[in-house]
């Protein structure tokens, strides 16, 4: 083997604390290294050309680049060595930036460590073998999980791009959180007026199949060929027959159930269509409150339904959808305000969340668009808004900013003044975060034109006094205590990961952070990709986002899917496990431990052997550490390669 070593300066990122020329010189002493040099930016065009030229001039058969993390540029350099005629797996990377120069200041120690890392990479490269990816066909259907505005946008853009789309929504209607909003900032246009047409487009688009009231049960397969089991939960109403006329809701005798769509500040019937613009506009029976289910007799809805759609004996149904890509757009849920006990959320009816306030403002809400406080239905005059409840609060394990609360609170003060001209809004805030287009102007308008009184400070406690809520807090700008007699307290509850998000992430085999938000592939350069090929993200499932950002991500994810599907065949990653049939004793331990069911038992000349299913194997390596005789090896990460790396480090 003829190995070339290229040690990157990365400008001053590496050269600042690593003597790259010395690293290159030391590399020449390693076995089979015939050429070594330092280079300013290995990833730049001249840098890559230098590598290609050296491969040709020096007849190199393998290349080590000592630079940054392979997460970033391994594909770049693999393509470069391939352009020079080598197999792309005859390449190794030594990470001397994240692992060396960025974490230590001692130039001599850093240089020594870099030499060690290059030695390790050389020893691994010496045991690399050319690997040839195999090709497989792509099923050009896409599944979008979550029918909020991000998922709707992704579904519509994919469908308009000519793809078949399967949209899975957990609730009985798409629309998500946006459907619950009254107006949207910064233009104060009606939320359902701008979302409604998109929802109708979803219903009418010939390329979109909608599974509402459904959940993803399990996901198998891989990019291009996923098999998703979708559990269609029993609605007890045959949606083929249901016309959405609402006769059942009028007659249903069980009328006092907390309405989830109205954030539980209004009642609903046990058989229910959540809101007038619902898509699909179909009724669902809640068996936990329906008299037919609870008491075993009622049957009123079945009697009044003009099409005979009621089916009390309906059961959950599993349908399998074969798709080539998946967009996760599962959104967020609100922080549970009852956890902040000093504010009394959950204890006092007149302490509500911002989203509950939206429902009070909305014409389709429980009060018909008149602001009436939940306790006694009176119109509130003094309304206190408290920001950052469950955001930017380490003590609640919610250190992050939910992003959109400053803006919707400003919007709500404006709407409050519109609804009740003689009202006064107070906003307790930490900072006002309004960096979007027209956003800061909007918050100023709330203060200057609508007279909202902004008080910079935290609220210490909220407690009832007569029919008022006393809000006691600090005004840190005035340096005084303030006490406000409020008729209604609205808490800007922070966003948190949707319930069940981590579980879904594991089904999708994508990472999630400690709060349950899904991890993007790169925080700046791959914001809608995940580290699992064929799985993309849109909207708040990746972190709190407002509507424009969510819509943008929906379109971005759709563009990624369309780009993926522009090819008829995809290449499988050849870095997978392979069984040495001579060494395999057929004990089946690898089959038992494989998380992907990627290993099967086969008969070979009357003996049991293990066999890896190439396209299913993810290259995780659990089987290789399970196999006692080392008969199953992960290509490009064989035991011998890892042992050589350890030896290079320990025996040097």
């Amino acid at each position: 083997m003829r190995i070339g070593v290229f040690v990157c300066h990365c400008g001053s990122n590496i050269e600042g604390t690593v003597d790259t020329a010395t690293v290159a010189k030391a590399s020449l002493d390693f076995p089979e290294v015939v050429y070594a040099t330092d280079t300013m930016y290995a990833c730049s065009e001249p840098g890559q050309d230098g590598i290609i030229q050296a491969i040709k001039d020096k007849n190199l058969t393998g290349v080590v680049v000592a630079s940054c993390t392979p997460r970033m540029h391994e594909p770049t350099f693999r393509r470069a060595v391939e352009r020079a005629g080598l197999n792309r797996f005859m390449f190794e990377m030594a990470n001397i930036r994240e692992h060396v120069s960025w974490i230590g200041r001692d130039r001599e120690a850093n240089t020594n460590k870099s030499v060690d890392l290059v030695r390790i990479a050389v020893e691994k490269l010496r045991r690399d073998a050319p690997l040839i990816p195999s090709k497989f066909s792509v099923n050009k259907r896409v599944m979008v999980i979550g029918g909020g505005v991000a998922g709707i946008q992704a579904a519509l853009d994919c469908a308009d791009g000519g793809l078949e789309v399967v949209l899975v929504e957990r609730e009985s209607s798409i629309g998500g959180k946006m459907a619950k909003l009254d107006k949207t900032f910064p233009t104060v246009d009606c939320s359902s007026c701008i979302l409604g047409p998109k929802m109708v487009d979803v219903a009418q688009h010939p390329n979109i199949t909608l599974h509402a009231y459904s959940e993803v049960d399990s996901i198998g397969g891989y990019v291009g060929n996923f098999q998703v089991q979708v559990k269609k939960r029993a609605t007890y109403v045959d949606w083929e027959l249901c016309t959405g006329c609402g006769a059942c809701m009028e007659k249903c005798p069980s009328k006092k159930n907390p309405d989830a769509f109205n954030e539980k500040i209004g009642p609903c019937t046990s058989i229910n269509i959540p809101f007038p613009q619902a898509i699909p506009k179909k009724a669902v029976i809640d068996p936990t409150t329906c008299r037919q289910f609870v008491k075993g007799k009622c049957g009123v809805c079945a009697k009044v339904c003009p099409t005979g759609a009621i089916k009390y004996d309906m059961t959950d149904e599993i349908v399998t959808e074969d798709v080539g890509a998946i967009v996760a757009a599962t959104g967020y849920d609100l922080f549970d305000i009852s956890k902040v006990t000093e504010y009394g959320g959950g204890r006092y009816p007149d302490v509500i969340t911002g989203l509950q306030y939206e429902r009070l403002l909305s014409a389709s809400g429980p009060t018909g668009g008149h602001i009436k406080r939940p306790s006694d239905g009176k119109e509130p005059k003094n309304i206190v808004f408290i920001q950052c409840v469950g955001s930017r609060d380490k003590s609640l394990d919610r250190p992050y900013c939910s992003g959109f609360c400053c803006m919707y609170t400003a919007k709500q003060t404006i709407l409050t003044k519109d609804h009740i001209p003689d009202s006064q809004s107070y906003v307790f805030y930490m900072d006002i975060r309004s960096p979007g287009k027209m956003y800061d102007e909007f918050t100023r308008r709330a203060m200057e034109e609508y007279g909202a009184r902004y008080i910079r400070g935290r609220v210490a406690m909220v407690y009832p006094k007569g029919d008022k809520m006393i809000v006691r807090g600090a005004d840190t700008l005035a340096g005084t205590q303030v006490e406000i007699e409020a008729d209604l307290v609205v808490l800007a509850a922070g966003a948190e990961a949707a319930k069940g998000a981590p579980q879904l992430a594991e089904k999708l085999r994508i990472s999630y952070d400690k709060y349950g938000f899904f991890m993007e592939s790169h925080p700046k350069l791959k914001p809608v990709e995940t580290n699992t090929a064929g799985v993309y993200l849109a909207g708040s499932c990746q972190g709190p986002k407002d509507i424009p950002q969510s819509v943008g991500q929906g379109s971005a994810a759709a563009a990624k899917v369309l780009a993926l599907f522009s090819k008829d065949m995809l290449e499988s990653d050849p870095q997978i496990s392979r069984v040495d049939i001579k060494r395999c004793v057929g004990c089946g331990k690898c089959i038992m431990t494989c998380p992907f069911k990627a290993i099967k038992e086969v008969e070979f000349r009357g003996q049991k052997k293990a066999e890896v299913i190439e396209t299913v194997c993810q290259g995780c390596g659990i089987c290789t550490s399970t196999c006692p005789q080392g008969a199953i090896q992960l290509s490009h990460f064989t035991d011998n390669q890892i042992l050589a790396e350890v030896n290079a480090l320990c025996q040097s």
Partner: protein, 323 residues
């Protein structure tokens, strides 16, 4: 009818349907019983049962894969059979398990020491009788009696399974439980008491004697790789053939890791070791860890899946996630 006679009767009944029945017979001297492979009715009378049946016959079962065989087991041996069944290395339909209550087996090294104390050599042993709780060895014409409890194998003193955990033909009365709960393991306690450098020195001292004969591996009923053992492979090349303590200890560590959560602590590795290296302690240590972590004991439940032979997103006792 004695346990032995009852076993013989049951084996004779079953023998026509079996390739062979594995048990014990009188060995090359009075102190040693050796494995017996009963292939015809004439062999049945060679069968022995008692305190000299130290071998674990389960070790031979995987090599009979695909054939229907019988095996005579002590309580401890039955756990190895169960573990092999759990791992689907043998087929339940292809194995008939014969057993009887076990009162413990001798540790030949302890017997040898007792004889030496009486000025006798074990090599001269002419006759051994085990009467209830007493072992009497006659050597060079002189009889030496010793309590079984003093010469029993260490595992017998802590035995939790004097009766087979799984048997098709269990004869006679069950043997009484040695004690309600296992006593603290003296070997592990001694190692626990050492500092890390002391422990390393302990192992270097003992492993220095190792002659790499692999008797420990070959006697192990759970070592099923046989000709493909990683200790003798260059692809992958985990161990070299170099005669160093590091390589020798590395093999023991590999062996112990491969047995984590699988080892039934039959002690055959240590008994087979010609250099008296206390290799079982490594396995016992890992088993203790597995037990603490997974609340699992190898070879007691045919239906149980060994914890390291399965993939679980969340283990009951390893909380990696908050939901």
């Amino acid at each position: 009818m004695s346990r032995l006679d009852a076993l013989k009767t049951r084996i004779k009944e079953a023998l026509p349907g079996l390739e062979c029945v594995i048990g014990w017979q009188k060995g090359y001297d009075a102190l040693h019983n050796t494995p017996l492979f009963i292939r015809g009715e004439a062999d049945v009378d060679k069968l022995e049962w008692g305190a000299l049946n130290v071998h674990n016959p389960a070790v031979y079962l995987p090599s009979f894969a695909g054939k229907k065989v019988g095996v005579v087991v002590k309580g401890c041996d039955s756990r190895s059979v169960v573990e092999l069944l759990q791992e689907k290395l043998i087929d339940r339909d292809n194995v008939v398990i014969f057993s009887a209550g076990c009162d413990g087996v001798v540790d030949i090294a302890k017997v040898r020491a007792k004889l030496a104390a009486a000025g006798l050599s074990a090599g001269n042993a002419e006759k051994v009788t085990v009467d209830g709780k007493t072992v009497t060895v006659t050597a060079a014409g002189k009889a030496v009696s010793m309590p079984l409890a003093e010469v029993a194998a260490d595992k017998c003193l802590r035995c939790q399974f004097p009766n087979a955990v799984l048997a098709d033909a269990f004869v006679g009365d069950p043997a009484p439980q040695v004690q309600a709960a296992p006593a603290a393991d003296a070997d592990l306690a001694a190692l626990d008491a050492m500092s890390v450098p002391e422990r390393m020195a302990f192992w270097r001292y003992h492993m220095d004697r190792c002659i790499r004969c692999y008797a420990c591996r070959n006697a192990c009923p759970m070592c099923v790789c046989r000709d493909h053992c990683i200790a003798q492979s260059r692809e992958p090349h985990w161990l070299s053939q170099e005669d160093s303590v590091t390589e020798k200890l590395m093999f023991q560590v590999v062996h112990a890791m491969h047995l984590a959560g699988r080892c039934t602590e039959c002690g055959e590795c240590q008994r087979a070791c010609p250099m008296d290296i206390p290799v079982l302690a490594l396995k016992k240590h890992l088993n203790r860890t597995i037990h603490d972590l997974f609340n699992y004991q190898a070879g007691v439940d045919v239906a149980a899946i060994p914890p390291l032979l399965q993939f679980k997103l969340e283990e009951d006792n390893i909380k990696e996630r908050s939901w």
